[in-house]
Symmetry: C2
Subunit: 538 residues, 2 copies
């Protein structure tokens, strides 16, 4: 299934984004009260593909899948953890960055997807710090080069051993003639605010910078002699824990393996199903509403744990998107559909809004935000079809607004006695799910006239049929039964015939209307692609 020239290790048929600590080969997660330690100790024979070894704590996508899993579990399973230490399990080396042999032999598509996912993981660290109060501290005991230093850049505080050897470096340009692929340049100047000419020097020397200059130039936060390192780490942990706004207490909920089955035509999860039409190059993602109302209270939600509908759907949808991105490279279009009892979706939204101060509800809202961001940066045409029986309301209506285009049926279909489809807005469409540039999808949609946003907000709680939704600007096209099949068929055929790269560039431009933030800048840079080496400068 994985469209790679390389062979996946261990006879795997596709790249799997599901894992858990019992299966980690590269990381150790230890929790000690308020402080967790994530130790990177890459198994050099544990590469995702055959053909390279992960020496010197270098990493490939498989290593990062474990890191992403650990960060996610820290948020859901460990509400008490307020500080996460990132450390190396190797002697005198922190992390050598993305494995060079892996990159050298990877397809362009794999490199782009690798950088996209590793970027999302690093954004996830920053999101956890900002929105869950889990502060990340990196302890660099040796060389942190390339992606190794980029990982540190995503954390809140960088401690560098002052031993004459430990150093940070971004040697990509001088050594490999590529750009740092996981936000290194942007985070150096925009997050850590290293002066641009210092950054220029730093990014053009292979050996990196150590000692006092690393602090003076803001590349790290402090240097500490080895003899005092553990005491300093303990001191900083205590400080950051004391300042954390993490408000979880007691036990977390566990994230058990997803229930899913793959076959040639797609994936079935509990609530999400993916149908892949390889001839038409279209994957249809259908989401099922809850069968029942949400639990009456927090205890009920905790009892449901990972089966609480909003969390289960988010996990399944996240996995489906990741799977399609990297294992189904020829899929040109993702079509979102939904079905089931819309009132139950809205009741879940009401629950998420009423209990937003609770740590777990907060985590679920933040997770939905991240899943929707993952969709925003997915380089496939996104289409949402609002048909009879669908439940694009509240949180699920974000899939209408995330789409490049949406189509909604006016009235009923011949021979189908289901009611005409409606969409409905909830509080969830007006704040909790900002895009990477900080605006909600509706704010971004209604740049021309902010009054349109007010008009939409005034209709919260109202079932809007196709014509009302079109008047409010919430959908692209309202079609009646006579036109529906033909128009959509022609659109699908045309769209999937266009240049994939052309569409990728066009969609990326049009999706992110409005301001830019550091995170939205990070979207763009670094594909891991080797630069052509001729001498013209353009």
């Amino acid at each position: 299934m994985a469209a790679e020239d390389r062979v996946l290790a261990g006879g795997a048929r596709y790249i799997d984004f599901q894992t858990d600590p019992s299966r980690y080969r590269h990381w150790k997660l230890d929790v000690d009260g308020e402080v967790a330690t994530l130790t990177m100790d890459v198994d050099e024979n544990g590469g995702l593909f055959e053909g390279y070894q992960l020496k010197l704590n270098s990493y490939d996508l498989g290593v990062d899948i474990e890191l992403a899993d650990a960060v996610q579990r820290l948020r859901f399973e460990h509400p008490c953890v307020k500080v996460v230490l990132l450390r190396s399990g190797k002697n005198r080396v922190f992390c050598a960055g993305a494995n060079i042999r892996m990159l050298a032999g990877a397809t362009h598509a794999h490199k782009v997807n690798f950088c996209k996912f590793t970027n999302e993981t690093r954004n996830g660290l920053e999101d956890s710090s900002e929105n869950s109060g889990q502060r990340f501290v990196t302890v660099i005991n040796g060389t942190a080069a390339g992606g190794g230093y980029e990982l540190a850049l995503a954390t809140d505080h960088i401690i560098l051993a002052d031993d004459g050897a430990a150093a940070v470096a971004l040697p990509e340009v001088p050594l490999l003639a590529v750009l740092p692929g996981t936000g290194g340049l942007t985070r150096v100047v925009d997050k850590r605010k290293v002066r641009r000419d210092h950054a220029d020097y730093f990014c053009t020397i292979e050996e990196g910078i150590k000692g006092k200059r690393a602090v003076q130039w803001r590349l790290v936060d402090e240097i500490v002699p080895n003899s005092k390192l553990e005491a300093k780490v303990a001191e900083r942990s205590k400080e950051f824990a004391a300042a954390s706004k993490r408000n979880g207490n007691g036990k977390g909920i566990s994230l058990p393996p997803l229930t899913r089955s793959f076959d040639d035509s797609g994936i079935r999860y509990g609530l999400v199903s993916v149908d892949i039409n390889r001839t038409e190059r279209i994957a249809t993602i259908s989401i099922k509403a809850p069968d029942a109302s949400p639990p009456a209270d927090i205890d009920g939600m905790i009892g449901q744990g990972a089966w609480f509908w909003p969390l289960q759907v988010a996990r399944e949808l996240d996995d489906a998107i990741l799977h399609l991105r990297i294992n189904e490279l020829e899929t040109a279009m993702l079509v979102f559909k939904s079905h089931g009892e819309r009132a139950n979706v809205l009741a879940c939204d009401a629950f998420l809004e009423a209990n937003k101060a609770h740590w777990l509800v907060n985590e679920i809202r933040q997770y939905w935000k991240r899943v929707l961001k993952r969709i925003d940066v997915t380089s496939r045409t996104l289409v949402t079809l609002v048909e009879p029986g669908s439940c694009f309301v509240g949180t699920l209506a974000e899939l209408v607004f995330a789409a490049d285009r949406s189509y909604m049926l006016i009235g009923q279909k011949q021979g189908d006695n289901r009611a005409p489809p409606t969409i409905e807005l909830s509080a969830m469409n007006f704040g909790p799910y900002p895009m990477s540039h900080g605006l909600t999808r509706l704010q971004s949609r209604f740049q021309a006239d902010p009054m349109d946003l007010d008009r939409a907000q005034a209709r919260i709680g109202e079932a809007l049929d196709a014509e009302a939704a079109e008047r409010l600007g919430l959908i692209t096209f309202a079609l009646d039964d006579i036109d529906w099949d033909d128009e959509i068929r022609v659109f699908f055929e045309e769209r999937t015939s266009f240049s994939p790269d052309g569409l990728t560039g066009m969609e990326a431009n049009l999706r992110f209307v409005g301001p830019e933030t550091m995170e939205s800048k990070l979207r763009r840079y670094g594909t891991g692609q080797k630069a052509q080496f001729d001498m013209t400068r353009v």
Copy 2:
């Protein structure tokens, strides 16, 4: 000299950015009181290179060089003009965009430089509207496709003939599998605020949009039947002229041809000289300070006209940068030097500051801003050397801050009795020359601590030696005579050995620290490069 596979038409040895209305082949510039008309009537046999015809008002770089010249002359030579009408001289076609055959046969380097220059020209239209009060109105009498519509997008007001045929279109993705190369996507959604799903539809249909929908979707400002078109154009001209803040009166100053001579080793202008070392791949740009104080008053400045030092240097530097970019593709590095009487440079700055309300002084300041922006986006390593005898003060100090790195000598050189170099700040370093993202170079430089900006500002008017400049963070490295030659030689050798593409990406990332604006977004998009057409979506 032009490193193109194609042959320049008419036996030209390089691409020349100098022209004037008497030599235009593609545009007519008519001035009638407050209203100027720029008529595009491309001579299809007037292509810059051999091998294609410019049918249907399609354009190449040569056409755009004339447009840029006309826009520049409107600002300096026509202070009375408040409204500029952009019109087509062809029947039923406005402009078919960049010529497809030209693009198909152009080198990657030429396409990048072509898009960069056309982008700068369109940004220049917007700059003239915003800062010189010359409002641009496009009158579309037929098809405005691709770059034709992108040109309209850069203007303030778009009138579309309502004749059942005239239409606007961005057919690049469906027709050519490339992205619009001159900011079309960004201006559609970010400037005109077309809703993103409408933009998605618009950018994927070849035939474009006409009539009412073009207005409803904000693609144009109004549609007018042909019978009423001239009356409407006259009405809008009158309105825009009345609302203009253009405060010029009387005669403009003329922009005569630059005095310059080319030889194998470079270019000599009156005040700027360019020495090209093709073995080392370095071009050294030296700027000479004025020999005398500036004129005593406005009349004196007008008397000097194009020979007023700040204007002459800006014109020469602009031409030199454009020449190096497109005709000297293997040059890896631009090294800025200066020499002459620093007091005279500072006196010019004082003149520009004291008289900034005068229309011509305003134009000169705005022009310097644009020249410096042109330098910011030049994809060569920029280095400034501050040596004895140099005059990097005020406006010229911006070349220190625009550089990727700067080096300044501590003390004197052995056997050279000139005084140690100093730099000096003036008001011109704190406002009039913002970068494309709206910050001055010093604001952008001092992101980490805005107090650094205050500290620098407090030293306006003080001659700062290398150590003082280094302490203030104004230069990258202060070196004494013992290290100077070796350090700089090693840096030059190393730098020019790196991957050009790697450096281009790195420098572009590091130069623009801080926020993004529409203009800074426009920097990034569109290289005119044909997308690879395989079916994977990444």
